[in-house]
């Protein structure tokens, strides 16, 4: 029996979502068709849209369904850039935080390489926090050149929660749209799109108990976005393609359910995280907690995130050893060609490459229990000991 502690990668589907998906998969109907079957499917999609909007403080017309968080981020960065530059050719600069997910960083780097877009990074403090005044300073280097700003709501690796409303305020002062990747936040934290001031927001179904392969972006009604895929004109002509009614129904069901008991669940999961992080400190093995952590905190650190660095260890050795011991977790960083790279997020927080290589992300979710935490704590000492020896050997 293995212990699943990788909820930030994907989390088990909620029963309500599974039921909604299965129900829709039994039925025929393209939501864009005008006949009865199409109208029935359309109703499911539109009711789901209303549910998503309700859960996230948006209007239904602001919800654009996509295939997931990565597509939403790509539409926001590429679509926003193209539209803004078309309106004013001098707006080519992209301001991003140093802790963004690759789904935001890589489209930005793509624009840098193919269109010469200058990229400005806002580096975080040691907790991974992006300070609004630092965003302001980077914008103010040349405000009229900025196409868009992207700062994520909550970081997928180290769990830091950003002050999105304050950052959006800074952007608004210069009339610059803010995109926020809220893939790790939606369903887990209070997310009010209207109050946040963000222009666009990305979310993903399978990070909150919905199905994989479906997500959404929220885009203010006045947001100008060039389409990144062209076709039948669905979803405000920003995201063409036959609507995925079963997936959308599953996403809406999962989001509605997770928002319903969100605050109580956040406190429950945060207590497990605190037990885990406190436990790593009691091992006496030099485990260092990444970012800032206060027991009970659900406003500056994701309730389910326990990211640690372990000096003298390679993350992939730890992964193997923990996997062999039945503990499923992650290093939290992306792989290039299967070769683990030191995390750009951990490096941006001012840690050394060697520290970054010893990263381990244990992430808790709605099915996690105290027994999971205790199993991980029991497996860690032997894994750390062996990983240190392996690191010395190689």
């Amino acid at each position: 029996m293995s212990t699943y502690l990788d909820h930030a990668a994907t989390t088990p589907m909620r029963a309500a979502a599974l039921e909604a998906v299965c129900e829709q998969m039994h039925l025929v109907g393209n939501p864009s068709s005008l006949h009865g079957a199409g109208r029935r499917a359309r109703r499911v999609v539109e009711e789901s849209r209303e549910q998503v909007a309700e859960a996230l403080g948006a209007r239904p017309s602001e919800v654009i369904f996509t295939s997931g968080g990565t597509e939403s981020d790509n539409i926001a960065v590429l679509g926003s850039y193209e539209a803004r530059r078309a309106a004013d050719p001098s707006r080519t600069r992209i301001v991003v935080s140093g802790v963004e997910h690759h789904a935001v960083l890589d489209p930005a780097m793509h624009l840098a390489q193919t269109q010469g877009a200058p990229i400005s990074f806002v580096e975080p403090g040691e907790c991974g926090t992006v300070r609004p005044q630092d965003v302001a300073a980077v914008i103010e280097e040349d405000p009229d050149s900025v196409a868009l700003v992207a700062v994520m709501w909550a970081n997928n690796e180290v769990g830091t929660i950003q002050d999105v409303p304050a950052i959006a305020q800074v952007c608004a002062e210069h009339g610059i749209p803010l995109h926020t990747d809220a893939v790790q936040a939606c369903g887990h934290l209070p997310v009010d799109f209207a109050a946040s001031g963000a222009e666009t927001l990305a979310l993903s179904g399978h990070k909150l108990g919905g199905p994989v392969g479906v997500g959404a972006m929220l885009a203010r009604r006045d947001a100008v976005l060039a389409p990144t895929s062209h076709g039948g004109g669905q979803e405000r002509s920003i995201r063409s393609g036959t609507l995925n009614a079963p997936g959308i129904a599953g996403l809406a069901a999962a989001l509605t359910e997770s928002v319903a008991d969100r605050d109580a669940e956040a406190r429950r999961v945060a207590a497990l995280r605190d037990r885990l992080l406190a436990g790593t400190q009691e091992l006496g093995l030099g485990v260092r907690i990444s970012g800032c952590w206060e027991p009970g905190d659900v406003t500056t650190r994701l309730p389910g995130n326990a990211h640690i660095t372990i000096p003298g260890c390679e993350g992939d050795s730890l992964l193997y050893l923990l996997d062999a011991a039945g503990i499923e977790c992650s290093t939290g960083s992306a792989c290039q060609a299967g070769v683990p790279q030191p995390s750009h997020v951990v490096l941006a927080m001012g840690r050394t490459e060697e520290e970054a290589r010893g990263s381990l992300r244990l992430s808790l979710g709605w099915t996690s229990t105290e027994a999971d935490v205790d199993a991980a704590l029991a497996a860690l000492p032997d894994a750390i000991d062996r990983a240190r020896r392996a690191s010395g050997a190689a």
Partner: protein, 362 residues
């Protein structure tokens, strides 16, 4: 697991034998571009994917271990330095000695593994005095030569599950097991030289170093070259000579003098080597005492020649302080023996040991 058919079947056979098996793919290049372009049967992203598919099918964990740093230092830099010094290295042998059965094995042992199994064609036999390394039953595929650098400790931690089977049978077995790599072509040449052009690859790293091509017998300058590192003893092609020899007989590289940047050529009768002196000897068991009759193999897939071998203490002149040297007297002359290659000694099918060829004599 390289992503090829051999390591795939090796993993399956280890699993069948009841071992707890974990697949490891070695990432030997830090540059993703080289990984993509180096499509010669190893080291590409696609190959890592092929290996992962096999591991998934077998239901075993699979990891990519980054050994690019050690590979650069111990194999690639060594390869360049050896050519620069006028020798002809065998990087596969060096990789086995320094990476697969050293850096990888050490890391594996520290992580709690007991041994490394590879898809090499060779056999491990439990002998009276410990484990012995023997040639594979498939003589055409036998890779005991490139494993001749393994010492007894390394051998004790090694499994070669394919040694008792021929390559065509391995392909059949891979197909029967449903591995998509069953028909994948064999890898050839040097994995880190994607286009197979060793001289061009070396020129990129060492630059052009023009020098003379000299007739070994007459001492006459007969041509020019762009770097002595591009030549190997026994080589016939690519000499770029304007004039043919007086009697029209083909000419070969007979020696490379890196210090004076000169390449010597001559007719084939000058190539025959009867005496070989090796250094950095490694033994798959006890070192031989006194003179022993052996079979000597002087390059990968080369013929085995009857010979007499003995270990001599160095008198401090040529060798590194206190090191012994291996002297091999061949029963018949062998052509194209290049310093830098290894001489691997056999007793029947058993590997006795190996040494890097330092000097040769006719």
């Amino acid at each position: 697991m390289s992503g090829g058919v051999d390591s795939a079947v090796a993993a399956a056979r280890m699993l069948d034998a009841g071992h707890e098996v974990v697949g490891v793919h070695l990432a030997l290049s830090r540059s993703a571009k080289t990984l993509r372009e180096g499509a010669r049967g190893c080291c590409t992203i696609e190959d890592a994917g092929d290996a992962r598919r096999v591991a998934d099918r077998l239901g075993i964990p699979f990891y990519v271990w980054d050994m690019a740093g050690a590979f650069q230092r111990d194999v690639i830099d060594d390869f360049v330095a050896e050519y620069e010094a006028g020798r002809t290295p065998n990087p596969c042998l060096r990789c086995n000695e320094k990476i697969k059965f050293a850096a990888l094995l050490d890391k594996a042992l520290a992580l709690g593994f007991d041994a490394v199994a590879t898809g090499h064609y060779a056999q491990v036999v439990e002998g009276t005095a410990g484990r012995e390394l023997h040639r594979a039953v498939d003589e055409g595929k036998d890779q005991s030569y490139v494993l001749g650098v393994l010492d007894a400790d390394q051998l004790a931690r090694s499994f070669f599950p394919l040694g008792d089977t021929t390559k065509p049978q391995i392909r059949e077995e891979a197909a029967a097991r449903g591995f998509a790599v069953a028909k994948k072509p064999d890898s050839h040449d040097i994995c880190f030289i994607a286009d197979g052009n060793t001289r061009g690859w070396l020129t990129e790293r060492l630059g052009e170093r023009p020098g003379e091509i000299v007739d070994e017998v007459s001492g006459e300058v007969v041509g020019a070259h762009q770097g002595s590192y591009g030549f190997t003893v026994g080589q016939r092609r690519g000499l770029g000579l304007e004039r043919s020899s007086l009697d029209g007989s083909p000419r070969f590289v007979t020696g490379v003098d890196a210090r004076d940047n000169r390449v010597f050529i001559g007719t084939s009768d000058l190539l025959g080597v009867r005496h070989v002196v090796g250094q950095s000897a490694r033994w798959c068991g006890p070192a031989p005492s006194g003179e022993v009759r052996v079979g000597a193999q002087l390059r990968a897939h080369g013929e085995e020649i009857p010979a007499t071998a003995r270990v001599e203490a160095c008198d401090g002149g040529e060798g590194q302080g206190g090191e012994s040297r291996l002297v091999v007297d061949l029963d018949e002359p062998v052509r194209g023996v290049a310093p830098g290659q290894s001489v691997v000694l056999y007793d029947g099918t058993r590997v006795v040991g190996s040494a890097t060829i330092a000097t040769t004599a006719r």
